[in-house]
Amino acid sequence: MSDHNYLSTHEPSPFDSGIRAQSQTENWTGWNGYLSPRIADTLASEYFAIRSSCSVMDLTPMEKYRITGPDATAFLNRLVTRDLTKLRVGRVAYVVWCNDEGKVIDDGTVFHLAENDYRLCAQHHQLDWLLLSSIGFDVSIQKETHDIAALSVQGPTSFSALSAAGIKGLETLKPFGILNTNVNGFELTVSRTGFTGDLGYELWAERARADDLWNTLFTLKDTGLFDIRLIGLDALEMVRIEAGFIMPGWDFNTAESTIRADHDRSPFELGLDWIVNFDKPYFTGKSALLAEKARPATRRLLKLTLEGNKPPVGSFIFHGKKGKQTGAVMAQTWSPILKRCLALADVDFIDGHPPNDLWAEIYYQKELKWHVKWARCEIVEGQFWSHPRRRATPPMPF
């Protein structure tokens, strides 16, 4: 029998006091049972901390599972669509996993920490699905979401900032690599990973070391160097769209929570073909995905840029100006770095191809008066925005 405080809506993060001290706006939102800032100070300063200096974000709410045991690799390889037998110790892979109908349950990252020892990070609660999927495998699955103190440190000065904080060895750490180190007397794991499409790192420590980890970064902030800033989820939303990263549960309905038939999505429909590997042995959803691959595409989550400067909030997408409705915007932002409206849109295909003339109908308000505008959309392949510093090893100092 453990205590349950019905008056407290959210679980406190191990960084709670630090985050509260840095948050000016009291603009909070729930994220997996924790309270996260949407905006800590101003959206513009947080966005530009990511793109121009050094941003810090609490990763506590991100779901984390520790998967260990003799069958850990076999279990994970059956779970996800990507071939994980090639994932060496000390490396991280972006993965997606499906149900037997080949519809996406969630996405996340697999950290190969040691032989038969993995961490799986996920967007949504996955313990039920992982345990159901583990029947017949000799593995142990532990939820460690709350037991790990993790921070994401992203932006062009992140390498310099973390080095200045005393973390050694970052100059040789490649993208998707893991570094186990020791800083200020505590053990720290650093991975060169992130959700911003920029140079950046994720720092992982024991929960008991949360204050040490926080202070390592924020004493550095006090020196006035590197423009280290706590960011909220709103800035992250802007940069992840620029980077073309998807959010299960926002950009599409996850399979296990889908009620209406055909409201879930496959990896192909989300543009994740590159992580579906049919050469590896059976994985959950493989047969359905093979069958889907053989058929012409019926729809895709497309990356669109839109003319003009009005973000297409909740817009429908049409084939031809004022033509037939053919899709809907799932995520959108004004990109300050590209000076352009970007959108991820779920669009119906015709004979396996996207309609050739896509338009968005955009509603917006000026002084409480509603206006409507039509904006031509262009399909973008790959990321909307990327920078060589993301991949450079050693990274650039700023």
């Binding site: 019905y6 809506t9 039920d128 038939a261």
Partner: protein, 540 residues
């Protein structure tokens, strides 16, 4: 009173379905009379003052399934109906712990995780799956079931609609749905959850009003019947009718009368008069004969065909099926006046959980044992109860600071060995009160009065055969086009001008109003009158 008056329609029974039916007929311009055997209207949808200053929801006690389309079409809000959603809900454990229901998603998640981390995740899958079946079933509530045995174009179209709805499910969902309809609730829930108390908590809705146990096949569907209702679009939520369930029948009666209808109480119908295989009216207990162009029975199928109709007027098949109709009484009810709020020390101070349903069965095994007693014609020595205290937010039901408690009890036999006596009824009541007192030490101190109702009282007063709250078990053999009997699921009786609108017809019991509205639609169709009944709002 002129014997010669010929009503357009007489409805037998002023329960919520009879009143709903009558209101839609009156709204279409018919001259309608509702006859009620009791001195009060409402049937099992009543609020009665049996203890000075207290109003009891004597029978039905919470509201969720009542169709919002009917509420809107009859403007029941203007006629005084107000349904306030419940908060909270709790299953107490024998070890002093509890499992609570919270409306805030994150608080609820942490409460589930307190009992099982895995179950906290599994509840997402459970809710999504249950909602699939809810969405499917809800679409049929305000529709007349097709008769698959005929080749009439309307039946063929309606059957095609039904099949289309089913085929909107994916292939795998279709298999799962068939499993769901035939499984026991225990087996079904065990595919999702591992915690004993969570299994018990979710399974309760599957046995309420049902002569089946948590391990009996078919009980999974009964859960759906309790989960498919909603309050203001929040599916699965339950509400209290302000002023008790009597407010539902009162508002319906008010709407009916506003459309020109009339109600006679203390007017028990003993016979539906039939001549040349046509219903011509009814005869009352006092010998009075009333004539009507059509007669609608809101009595359950057994009472309708075995009590107020004569076998000589009916096809043998109907009489036989009425006799075989499954309508087992399995429930009891206690209505309690309390001098103060009972204490539940297991809960933290100020806990909102008492605002909802209180349960005291924390394992599937205890639930199954409760059923075992019933099979042996005993009331459960450790019953499953569904307890609510609506006076926590309804000021109209008890004096300030005092409370009214409604305790629904599963299981209670139709006839204990040697038959019911008042002493046995009181002993049944004491079993229930003792169980409450185990969790609430001041319970007997605050207890002022308790009305104890076994199937004997429910049948005698309300007229529910065996006291069955659904007017017939909600098992697959008695649902959709098989309710109440194959060939008679479209509300038309076996003689001309005679109709059925009770919960014995599709879609069944639970204060939905849907049988009453559906029957009205068929009647108006036969009379070539414009349809006053509402269409389903649709979920999408």
């Amino acid at each position: 009173m002129t014997i010669t008056k010929n009503y357009d329609a007489i409805i037998i029974g002023a329960g919520h379905n009879g009143l709903t039916n009558a209101a839609f007929l009156a709204k279409a311009g018919l001259d309608v009379l509702v006859l009620e055997k009791n001195a009060h209207i409402g049937g099992a949808t009543v609020s009665r003052e049996l203890y000075d200053g207290w109003k009891y929801s004597n029978c039905s006690y919470v509201c969720s399934l009542f169709r919002p389309e009917i509420y809107q079409a009859l403007d029941l809000g203007r006629h005084g109906l107000e349904v306030v959603p419940l908060q909270g809900g709790v299953t107490f454990k024998q070890n002093g712990d509890y499992f609570g229901s919270y409306h805030h998603h994150d608080i609820q998640r942490r409460e589930i995780a307190r009992h099982s981390q895995r179950d906290a995740d599994a509840v997402v899958r459970f809710n999504a799956d249950l909602m699939k079946w809810c969405r499917l079933i809800r679409g049929f509530l305000l529709r007349t079931p097709p008769d698959p045995g005929t080749f009439r174009p309307r039946d063929a179209m309606e059957f095609a609609y039904l099949l289309k709805k089913f085929y909107e499910l994916s292939e795998s969902q279709l298999y799962e749905f068939i499993r769901f309809f035939t499984m026991s609730i225990a087996e079904y829930l065990e595919e999702y959850f591992e915690s004993d108390v969570i299994l018990a908590h979710y399974s309760g809705g599957s046995i309420i009003g049902t002569g089946l146990g948590v391990y009996s096949p078919g009980t999974a569907y009964v859960l759906l019947h309790h989960a498919m209702g909603d309050v203001d679009g929040s599916i699965g939520s339950w509400g209290f009718a302000r002023g008790g369930m009597g407010s539902v029948s009162k508002a319906l009666a008010s709407a009916f009368c506003a459309h020109g209808g009339s109600i006679r109480t203390d007017a028990e119908v003993t016979n539906i008069n039939v001549s040349n295989q046509r219903a011509t009216g009814v005869t009352l207990k006092n010998g009075e004969t009333l004539r009507a162009k059509i007669v609608v029975s809101n009595l359950d199928a057994k009472r309708t065909f075995l009590n107020v109709m004569h076998s000589e007027d009916l096809p043998g098949d109907v009489v036989k099926r009425a006799k075989n109709f499954k309508i087992r009484g399995s429930s009891g009810k206690l209505n309690i006046a309390l001098d103060a709020m009972p204490e539940f020390p297991a809960l933290p101070p100020g806990s909102p959980l008492t605002l909802g349903h209180l349960h005291f069965s924390d394992t599937l095994e205890r639930l199954e044992r409760a059923y075992d007693d019933w099979k042996e014609d005993r009331w459960s020595s450790d019953p499953y109860t569904d307890t609510v205290i609506p006076t926590q937010f309804d000021p109209t039901m008890a004096p300030p600071g005092k409370h009214m408690m409604s305790v629904f009890v599963q299981y209670c036999p139709v006839e204990p060995e040697g038959g019911w006596t008042d002493a046995k009824r009181d002993a049944f009541g004491k079993t229930v009160l003792d169980q409450l007192a185990e969790y609430s030490p001041n319970f007997y101190d605050v207890l002022l009065h308790a009305e104890i109702r076994t199937p004997r009282e429910l049948e005698a007063e309300v007229g529910l055969t065996e006291g069955n709250i659904f007017q017939g078990e909600l098992t697959l053999d008695q649902l959709l086009f098989n309710r109440p009997f194959p060939g008679y699921a479209q509300y038309r009786g076996p003689v001309k001008n005679m109709y059925m609108c009770s919960s014995s017809t599709h879609p069944g019991g639970g204060v939905m109003g849907a049988p009453g509205a559906n029957a009205a639609r068929e009647i108006l169709r036969d009379l070539n009158k414009s349809d006053t009944t509402p269409e389903d709002f649709g979920d999408d």
